[in-house]
């Protein structure tokens, strides 16, 4: 028997589906509106959840690189972060940078004012791996000709009442005192004068930073903390386990990020649940439209089958209608949600400004995968919703359909 080898061109089915939707303007517009509300509410709430997650992550992690590991010793008398240990850590294949920090409680004196502070001795590696937000001057390793450079944070300046004009402090002499007796019995206290080379905003409490060799020259042979830079986030776990096998303790910003992500995963699911209510309305609207369309077009389907359309073509016709509704509805919803979120963000910034908040913030996040995911999700919903009407369209008997009045 003869066989149709070509089949109907999909573009023509798409055209017929499109024409049918356009011919029922009000119904199609209302259905699209329903879908837009459903998917738009999900997109709006998720972009809010993700934006909030970003803000929280940035606040907690700050500008620390996530590809770093902080290494400390559980007992500095037994396992020391000395040159031998540092060498072993530095030799791990995935380690790219190694920074050393010595830090002890001490005090500083500047312009006849004195305050307690944590005194850090840092090397170039530590500087690279830690984001020290310089607002005036330079970092210790970049100080060049400045003799005995030191940088001081705003919190330290606040503690002595000099934070109003930080640049005035640059070049001034600052003396520090750090008792090192507790570090090792035979060490003398650090008492030295430095020149302020830079001012940073980082850090919650008073902190000052000098070069690490200041402590080395006094005979401190072990660092307080190592900062290890690794090639990529994926290798963090492996490097950590190797370092821990040396008897050392590790911490990574990735831990915090993971905890934040876990919390927000639940939060976003909750938001998804709220958005789902809108989605149910959209699904019902779409199902209603497709079912009415099927009932109205029973004769048309009967006619097309009698003229040579295959049953599968009739099924596809409805699938295409659902795809068009889903696609346009999703794009409309996403655009609407983006505009609404921009408006909400602007209003919140305005409100925050009147309450004395400096700077602006962006409360929403629109990653590409959320956009693609929302469209794919809506298409999936469309396929599920159209399943029953499309199946019924496929099974329409043309004789019965054309006999109907």
């Amino acid at each position: 028997m003869m066989r149709n080898t070509r089949g109907v061109d999909r573009k023509i089915l798409l055209m017929i589906a499109y024409r049918n939707l356009v011919s029922k303007k009000l119904r199609t517009a209302l259905t699209l509106f329903g879908i837009a509300i459903g998917i738009g509410s999900i997109y709006f709430l998720l972009s809010f959840g993700l934006g909030l997650q970003n803000i929280v992550t940035n606040e907690v992690i700050g500008n620390q690189s996530i590809k770093t590991i902080d290494v400390t010793t559980p007992n500095s008398r037994i396992i020391k972060l000395d040159d031998i240990t540092n060498q072993r850590v530095g030799d791990i294949a995935e380690v790219t940078t190694l920074g050393k920090a010595y830090f002890y409680p001490g005090s500083f004196r500047l312009s006849n004012s004195e305050s307690d502070a944590i005194v850090y001795g840092i090397d170039e590696g530590y500087e690279q791996l830690t984001y020290l937000d310089v607002i005036e001057g330079v970092l210790p390793t970049q100080a060049g000709d400045i003799k005995n450079p030191i940088i001081i944070n705003i919190a330290a300046l606040e503690s002595i009442g000099l934070s109003s004009n930080p640049s005035a402090v640059l070049g001034q002499t600052l003396s520090i005192q750090v008792p090192l007796e507790k570090v090792s019995d035979n060490l003398e206290a650090l008492k030295q004068e430095f020149t302020v080379a830079g001012i940073i905003s980082s850090g919650g409490g008073p902190e000052v930073f000098v070069l690490s060799n200041v402590f080395r020259e006094l005979g401190v042979d072990a660092a307080t903390q190592l900062k290890v830079g690794v090639k990529d986030v994926a290798s963090i776990e492996m490097v950590r386990s190797q370092i821990e096998s040396f008897g050392l303790e590790t911490q990574s910003p990735a831990d915090t990020v993971e905890e934040i992500n876990t919390i927000f995963r639940y939060f976003n699911f909750m938001l998804l649940g709220f958005g789902g209510i809108g989605m149910i309305i959209a699904v019902l609207g779409m199902f209603n439209t497709l079912t009415i369309s099927l009932l109205e077009r029973t004769k048309e389907i009967g006619l097309m089958v009698s003229l040579g359309a295959r049953s599968i073509d009739m099924r596809l016709l409805f699938v295409f209608e659902a795809v068009l509704l889903s696609l346009f509805g999703a794009v409309l919803g996403i655009v609407g949600a983006t505009v609404l979120s921009a408006l909400v963000n602007w209003l919140l910034n305005l409100l925050a400004g009147t309450r004395g908040v400096d700077g602006t913030f962006w409360l929403f996040s629109y990653p590409w995968w959320l956009f693609v995911g929302a469209i794919l999700f809506m298409l999936f919903v469309g396929f599920v919703v159209v399943w029953l009407p499309a199946r019924r369209a496929e099974k329409i008997n043309p004789i019965d359909a054309l006999r109907r009045e």
Partner: protein, 257 residues
């Protein structure tokens, strides 16, 4: 010239149930449809004409018997092949004009070509030619359901010829038309049969059109009776005379009252 047989309907019957009632739409019988001739299937309303036409159109599998087209039993094929048979071999015209309402005249006429896999541009070219042949070329971008009954029937005719199918099947094509428009549609059928050698299968209960046929199938309460070519003229005369007698009897009864 030797007569060629296009359809062989052999021992075909069609039964179905409506609720608890058993209906025999077509009683077991055999007929044939000759190629390149006009065959008229006639009979009173509800006699089974449309059921027979549905069987010939590949839309209704008979309960028993075989229906061969070009010596092949089409009902042994799958649904896709039957769909191809309808799209490629048939042009179909119904009494009521059915349209895809969202499409204009041009796309409606092009529908059978779409189902054959034509591109839209190629299908439009052929649809324009078909509309020209029925003098409806200026209606391409109108919506068919907004046109008059006569205009719609001509567009339906264009749709039936657009795929250049060898067979045109028409189910009461003049049923909803006045006599003038009905005659014009019948003229189109005879023209296509004579000029292009199309096989026309016409279902009607209007006896006036019987003389255009070269082959007749009478159907009464589902029973098919074939009237050979040589018997057509006397049969038509007899039928028309019966009708005339009935009218006279009814008129006389009316006068007595």
């Amino acid at each position: 010239m030797k007569r060629e047989i296009l359809y062989e309907v052999d021992g075909v019957a069609l039964d179905f149930s409506v609720g608890e009632q058993h209906v025999t739409a077509v009683q077991k019988g055999s007929i044939f449809i000759p190629k390149s001739e006009i065959t008229i299937i006639f009979g009173p309303s509800g006699s089974g004409k449309s059921s027979l036409l549905n069987i010939l159109s590949g839309l209704q599998k008979p309960t028993s018997g075989s229906m061969k087209y070009k010596s092949e039993n089409i009902y042994t094929s799958n649904q896709d092949s039957l769909a191809y048979y309808r799209a490629h071999e048939l042009g179909i015209i119904y009494q009521t004009n059915y349209w895809v309402k969202s499409l204009d005249v041009l796309d409606n006429v092009a529908l059978p070509l779409y189902f054959l896999g034509y591109s839209r541009a190629d299908a439009h070219d052929k649809a324009r030619s078909a509309l020209e042949r029925v003098n409806m070329q200026s209606y391409t971008h109108k919506y068919p359901y907004l046109l008059s009954g006569g205009e719609q029937q001509r567009i339906a005719f264009a749709r039936a010829i657009v795929n250049d199918a060898p067979v045109i099947i028409a189910d009461e094509p003049t049923g909803n038309l006045d006599s003038k428009n009905g005659d014009r549609v019948i003229e189109l059928f005879t023209e296509f049969q004579q000029n292009e050698g199309k096989t026309i299968i016409l279902v009607t209960h209007n006896l006036e059109y019987l003389p255009i046929a070269q082959h007749l199938v009478q159907i009464q309460d589902g029973k098919m009776t074939q009237i050979e070519h040589k018997d057509i003229t006397p049969t038509v005369k007899q039928l028309l005379s019966d009708v005339q007698n009935r009218i006279s009897t009814l008129a006389a009864k009316g006068a007595k009252k």
